[in-house]
C-alpha cells in the first residue's frame, strides 16, 4: 500500500489527505497547529480581483494566468480549479458550502466592504449585495469585533458591483453569551448558539429590532457544531438571516476545519497534530522519511510520497531571517525570490514582493528549482507555499489551495499506480 505523508492541515492538506486516503493510500497528516481554515472566512475564494473586481472567476482565470506567468494559476487551468472547488463542496455538503465556482457572490465584510467570493456558507448568501436589498445589521454589544453601524453605513455609500444601491441600517442589541462577561469572543457566542434554548432567547432579542421586509445581517457566530443553527434562527426571527465573517478566530472557518478533519479521520487518515517536522532523511533523489519531534523523542515517518501543504509566511512555513534570507523550514527547499527589494513602504501600493516568495512546482506539483529541476522525485507541494500569488489581495487562496491539492493528490496516486504496474511487469 502506498504510504503518503501530508504536512500541514489547512484546506490544502486536509483535502489532499482525504482524496489520497479515499484513493487507496495510507496517509499520515502531520500538523504543528490547527491549520489556516480558522483564519479564513469560511468561503472559497477563486479569484476576486484581477485587479478589477471579477464576476466570473473561472472565465477570468485564463486571462489572469496569461498576465501572471509565475502565478500558481499559470499551472492550474479553469477546469481543474472548478472541479477542485466542486470536490470540496461535495465533501462538506450543502450545509457548509453552496454556490457556483464559475460565479462570484458579492458579500459584505465586517467593515462594510463588498467582497467577492465563489462559494460560501449557506448562512451567508442572503447577504448578497444586490440592488434594492434592504438590510438590518445587528451587532452584539458584548462582541467587540463587529460594529453594525460601520458595516451598514459603508454599505449604504457603496455603488454596488452589479449597479444600484442597497439600504442598510445598524442596530446593537445586548445579549449575554456567558454570565458576567461583557467581552465575549465570537467563539463564546457560537458555542452558546449551539444550544436551542439560548437560540430562542437570542432570536427574540433580534426579532425585536427587525422591521418587515428587512434581511438580517449578524456576525458569523451562529453556531459552531450545529450547522443548522442559523437556519433555525432565521425561522424564529421570521426573516432571512446572513452571517458576516469576522477577524480570526473565524467560526465559519472552524466549521469547515472540524468537518474536514473528521472526514479525514473517517477516511482512515492518521491525524498527528501538535508537533513540527524537525528533520528528514533523503537518498537517491528521494525523501525517505520526515522526523517529528514528539514526546519521548523524535519519530520517523517513512513514506513513498510527501506533500508539503504547510502554507506561507503566516504559518511559519516560510521564514525570512534578519538578513532577508528566506527559508522553507521543512525541507529547506529552493525558493523563487523576486529580484530587488522584498518590501516597500507604500501600504496601499503594489503587492509586497516578499509575500510572493514560495516554491515552484512541475506539472505534477513536484517541487522544482527555479531552473526547472525536480528537487526530490517524491516531494509535492500545494497551497500557500506555492510562489507567485498575493492571495489576500487577489482573493485567490482557496482556489489555489484546492486545485493544487487535488492535482498533487492525483499525481501521487498516479505515481503509485505506475510504480505498481512497473513492479508487476518486472
Amino acid at each position: 500500500m502506498q504510504r503518503v505523508v501530508v504536512i500541514g492541515a489547512g484546506v490544502a492538506g486536509l483535502v489532499a489527505a482525504i482524496r489520497l486516503a479515499r484513493g487507496g493510500a495510507r496517509v499520515a497528516l502531520l500538523t504543528k497547529g490547527t491549520g489556516g481554515l480558522q483564519l479564513s472566512q469560511g468561503t472559497v475564494d477563486i479569484l476576486g480581483y484581477s485587479p478589477d473586481r471579477v464576476e466570473r472567476p473561472l472565465d477570468a482565470l485564463a486571462g489572469f494566468a496569461g498576465s501572471h506567468p509565475g502565478h500558481p494559476y499559470a499551472q492550474l487551468d479553469a477546469a481543474e480549479v472548478g472541479a477542485a472547488a466542486d470536490y470540496l463542496k461535495e465533501l462538506v455538503g450543502p450545509g457548509l458550502l453552496v454556490g457556483d465556482p464559475a460565479v462570484n457572490l458579492q458579500l459584505p465584510t465586517a467593515v462594510g466592504a463588498v467582497r467577492p467570493t465563489a462559494l460560501a456558507s449557506p448562512s451567508m448568501t442572503a447577504g448578497a449585495c444586490v440592488d434594492g436589498a434592504k438590510f438590518v445589521i445587528v451587532g452584539l454589544s458584548r462582541l467587540k469585533d463587529f460594529y453594525p453601524e460601520l458595516v451598514a453605513q459603508n454599505l449604504n455609500r457603496t455603488e454596488l458591483p452589479g449597479g444600484g444601491r442597497l439600504s442598510a441600517r445598524g442596530v446593537t442589541i445586548d445579549v449575554v453569551a456567558r454570565e458576567g462577561e461583557v467581552d465575549s469572543s465570537g467563539l463564546t457566542f457560537a458555542r452558546a448558539l449551539d444550544d436551542s434554548g439560548y437560540r430562542r432567547r437570542f432570536a427574540q432579542a433580534v426579532k425585536a429590532v427587525v422591521e418587515p421586509g428587512e434581511t438580517v445581517g449578524l456576525p458569523a457566530v451562529l453556531g459552531l457544531d450545529d450547522h443548522g443553527a442559523w437556519a433555525e434562527l432565521a425561522e424564529l426571527i421570521g426573516a432571512e438571516v446572513f452571517e458576516i465573517p469576522l477577524p480570526p478566530p473565524s467560526v465559519p472557518g472552524m466549521r469547515l476545519n472540524r468537518t474536514l478533519t473528521q472526514l479525514a479521520k473517517d477516511a482512515g487518515v492518521r491525524y498527528v497534530p501538535g508537533s513540527r517536522v524537525g528533520g528528514f532523511s533523503a537518498s537517491g533523489g528521494r525523501v525517505d522519511s520526515v522526523q517529528l519531534g514528539v514526546a519521548g523523542g523524535p519519530r520517523d515517518f517513512r513514506a513513498d510520497a510527501f506533500l508539503l501543504a504547510t502554507g506561507g509566511f503566516e504559518s511559519g512555513s516560510l521564514h525570512a531571517d534578519s538578513y532577508h534570507q528566506v527559508h522553507e523550514i521543512v525541507f529547506d527547499l529552493p525558493l523563487r525570490v523576486p529580484e530587488g527589494a522584498l518590501v516597500h513602504g507604500d501600504y496601499w501600493g503594489e503587492a509586497q514582493p516578499l509575500f510572493t516568495v514560495g516554491v515552484e512546482t512541475d506539472e505534477r506539483m513536484r517541487v522544482r528549482t527555479p531552473r526547472g529541476d525536480v528537487v526530490y522525485d517524491n516531494v509535492y507541494a500545494a497551497g500557500g507555499i506555492l510562489a507567485g500569488a498575493t492571495r489576500w489581495q487577489e482573493k485567490s487562496g482557496e482556489g489555489i489551495a484546492l486545485a493544487s491539492a487535488v492535482k498533487a493528490a492525483d499525481a501521487i496516486l498516479a505515481a503509485a499506480e505506475s510504480t505498481t504496474s512497473q513492479g508487476v511487469a518486472s
Binding site: 483564519l39 463588498v114 467582497r115 455609500r157
Partner: protein
C-alpha cells in the same frame, strides 16, 4: 479668522515647548503653545525612552552628565507616572576595554553621577539575557520615560496655570512691529481657519524645525542640523533594566525597556530635512549587530517597529564661539535681539529630553532678563497633574486596572491592555484627533500585532461617537494602517513577517479594506 492674544507664544509642542509653556505659565505669564501637529509628535516621541542617569556623558560631556543626574531626580519625582525606575547598567562587552571603566568611574565621581561597580554575576542574576561574556559592570540610576506622558502632563500642568495648548496649528508667519515681535500667524490644520495671536514674545522651541520658524520672523540662517537616529522596538522586554555599553558614546550602545517593549538605539546620520528621515536597511543591520553584543540571540528576537528621530543640533555660523548663548553644552539659546536686532524672540535647540525642564528654565530666565522682569522658576517644586500620588510607573499597572474593570469594560487592544473606556475617554478629550494622536497617549496598536486586531475595533468605537461620521471613521482606519506600515516595513523580518501576513489576511483577506468606498477627502492629519 480668529484673533487671540498672550504674553508669550511658544512654538513647538515637543518636550522643550511643553516644559517652556509650563514654566512661563507658572511664572504668571499668559501663554499659548502652538504646534503644527500633535504634542510629542516630533523628536520627543521618536527616541528610545531613556531617562539618563548621566552615565552616558561622564567622560564625553561632563557638564551634561551632571545636569542629567540632577534632572533625573527631579523628573522622576515631579512626573512620577511617566517614569519607570528601571535602573541601569554600564557593561563592558567582550569587544570593549574593561580598563576604560576606570576612566568612566572617575568621570562619574567627578560629575556626581551616582554609580556602583557590581560583579558580572550580579548583572547576570538580575538580567539573565545579558551577554555572559561581559567583563565589567557599573550600576546606575537610569530610568525609562514615556515621552508623550511627559509632554502631556507638562502641558496639562500649564493649562492649570491658564495656558492654552493649540495642537494642529501650523505657524505660517511671525509679524514684527519695527524691532519687536508683534504677532504669530497660524493655520488651524483641522479647519483651515487662520488664527492670529498678538504677543510680545515668541519662544521658538521648534527644535529641528527651529530654523524654519526663525526664518519666518526674518531671522535667516539659523541652522538646526537634524541629526537622525533610528530606534527599533522589540516585541517584549529582553531586559528589565537599561543596558548601556561601557564605551565612549557610540551608535547602538543602549537597550531601554519601555512599557511592554524594549528599544535599541541609536544611530547618528546628518539629515537634510527633518520631515524626510530614512530608516536605512544598513542602519537596521548595524543596530541588530549591536543588539547581539548586549544580548546574544538578539537577531532571533522579534522586532516590531522602527522609527527615526531628528536631534536638533544647532550650527550658527553668524555667532562667534565666544558667544554666551552656550548656556550649557548640548543646549543652545539664540537671542535674536543680539543676533538679528529683533526683540521678543528666543530660539532654543539642542539638549536632551532628560534635561528638558532645565532647558525650559534657562530660556525663560533669558526671556525674563530681556524683559527686565525677573520671576523665579518653580517647575521643580510641583507635581504635574496625574502624578500627585508620587507613584512611579510600573509595567503591571494596566494589568491591575484591567483586573478591576474586566467585568465592566472591553479590551480593545490585547497587546497593550487598552480598554474601550480608555479609548472613548481619550477620544472625547481630543475629538479631532486621529488614531495616531490617540495611540501616543494609549499605546493603541503599538504592541506585537501592530494594530492587526485593534484598528478595526478602534474604528467601530470611534464611529459610534457622535463626532465621527462613516467617511471620517473609514479614513481614520486607512490613515492608521498606512502610518503603522511606515514603521513596520523597514524592520520586516523574522516573526514580524508572520504577523504581517496574518494582519494582511485580516485587513485585505477578510475585511477587504482596499475596496471600501473611496473617500471624497482622504484623512492626512
Amino acid at each position: 479668522m480668529k484673533t487671540l492674544s498672550a504674553d508669550v507664544v511658544v512654538v513647538g509642542g515637543g518636550s522643550t515647548g511643553a516644559g517652556v509653556v509650563r514654566d512661563v505659565a507658572m511664572r504668571g505669564y499668559s501663554a499659548i503653545l502652538v504646534d503644527r501637529a500633535d504634542l510629542g509628535q516630533g523628536t520627543t516621541g521618536r527616541y528610545h525612552g531613556l531617562l539618563h542617569s548621566g552615565g552616558r556623558y561622564v567622560v564625553s560631556d561632563p557638564h551634561s552628565a551632571t545636569e542629567c543626574a540632577e534632572e533625573n531626580e527631579i523628573i522622576t519625582r515631579i512626573q512620577s507616572h511617566a517614569v519607570e525606575k528601571t535602573g541601569g547598567y554600564f557593561v563592558a562587552t567582550h569587544v570593549d576595554d574593561p580598563a576604560w571603566g576606570d576612566e568612566w568611574a572617575k568621570g562619574a565621581t567627578d560629575t556626581k553621577v551616582p554609580f556602583e561597580e557590581v560583579s558580572v554575576a550580579e548583572v547576570l542574576k538580575a538580567e539573565p539575557r545579558v551577554n555572559p561574556k561581559i567583563s565589567r559592570a557599573f550600576k546606575v540610576l537610569d530610568g525609562s520615560v514615556d515621552g508623550w506622558q511627559l509632554v502631556w502632563s507638562a502641558a496639562n500642568s500649564a493649562k492649570q496655570y491658564g495656558a492654552q495648548i493649540l495642537t494642529y496649528h501650523r505657524v505660517t508667519k511671525i509679524e514684527r512691529d519695527g524691532d519687536r515681535v508683534s504677532q504669530v500667524v497660524c493655520t488651524d490644520e483641522k479647519t483651515g481657519e487662520e488664527v492670529r495671536i498678538n504677543t510680545n514674545f515668541v519662544l521658538n522651541c521648534a527644535a529641528a524645525w527651529g530654523g524654519q520658524i526663525a526664518h519666518m520672523a526674518g531671522c535667516p540662517d539659523v541652522q538646526v542640523v537634524p541629526g537622525a537616529g533610528i530606534m527599533i522596538a522589540m516585541n517584549h522586554r529582553l531586559t528589565n533594566s537599561v543596558v548601556n555599553r561601557l564605551t565612549y558614546p557610540a551608535d547602538g550602545d543602549i537597550l531601554v525597556p519601555v512599557h511592554t517593549v524594549c528599544i535599541i538605539g541609536t544611530t547618528d546620520q546628518k539629515a537634510d530635512d527633518p520631515d524626510k528621515l530614512v530608516i536605512a536597511w544598513d542602519e537596521v543591520q548595524q543596530m541588530l549587530d549591536c543588539g547581539e553584543l548586549l544580548v546574544p540571540g538578539f537577531r532571533e528576537a522579534r522586532a516590531i517597529h522602527a522609527w527615526a528621530g531628528a536631534r536638533p543640533l544647532v550650527k550658527d555660523s553668524r555667532v562667534g564661539s565666544g558667544d554666551t548663548r552656550h548656556m550649557s553644552r548640548g543646549m543652545s539659546i539664540i537671542d535674536h535681539s543680539e543676533r538679528d536686532g529683533l526683540k521678543g524672540l528666543l530660539t532654543i535647540a539642542g539638549g536632551k529630553l532628560t534635561t528638558y525642564r532645565l532647558m525650559a528654565k534657562n530660556v525663560v530666565d533669558a526671556m525674563c532678563a530681556q524683559l527686565d522682569d525677573p520671576r523665579p522658576c518653580t517647575t521643580a517644586d510641583e507635581q504635574v497633574p496625574g502624578s500627585e500620588d508620587r507613584k512611579n510607573y510600573v509595567i503591571t499597572h494596566r494589568l491591575e486596572e484591567r483586573e478591576h474593570d474586566r467585568t465592566e469594560d472591553q479590551i480593545l487592544c490585547e497587546c497593550e491592555l487598552m480598554s474601550k473606556g480608555m479609548f472613548t475617554r481619550a477620544l472625547a478629550d481630543q475629538p479631532k484627533g486621529n488614531f495616531d494622536d490617540l495611540r501616543r497617549q494609549l499605546r493603541l496598536g503599538m504592541g506585537p500585532c501592530q494594530g492587526g486586531f485593534c484598528s478595526m475595533r478602534a474604528t467601530g468605537v470611534a464611529h459610534q461617537s457622535e463626532h465621527i461620521d462613516i467617511e471620517r471613521a473609514t479614513g481614520l482606519m486607512r490613515l492608521f494602517l498606512k502610518n503603522r506600515w511606515i514603521g513596520i516595513w523597514p524592520i520586516l523580518y523574522g516573526d514580524q513577517v508572520r504577523q504581517t501576513a496574518l494582519d494582511n489576511w485580516i485587513f485585505q483577506g477578510t475585511l477587504d479594506v482596499e475596496h471600501l468606498p473611496g473617500p471624497t477627502h482622504e484623512e492626512v492629519v
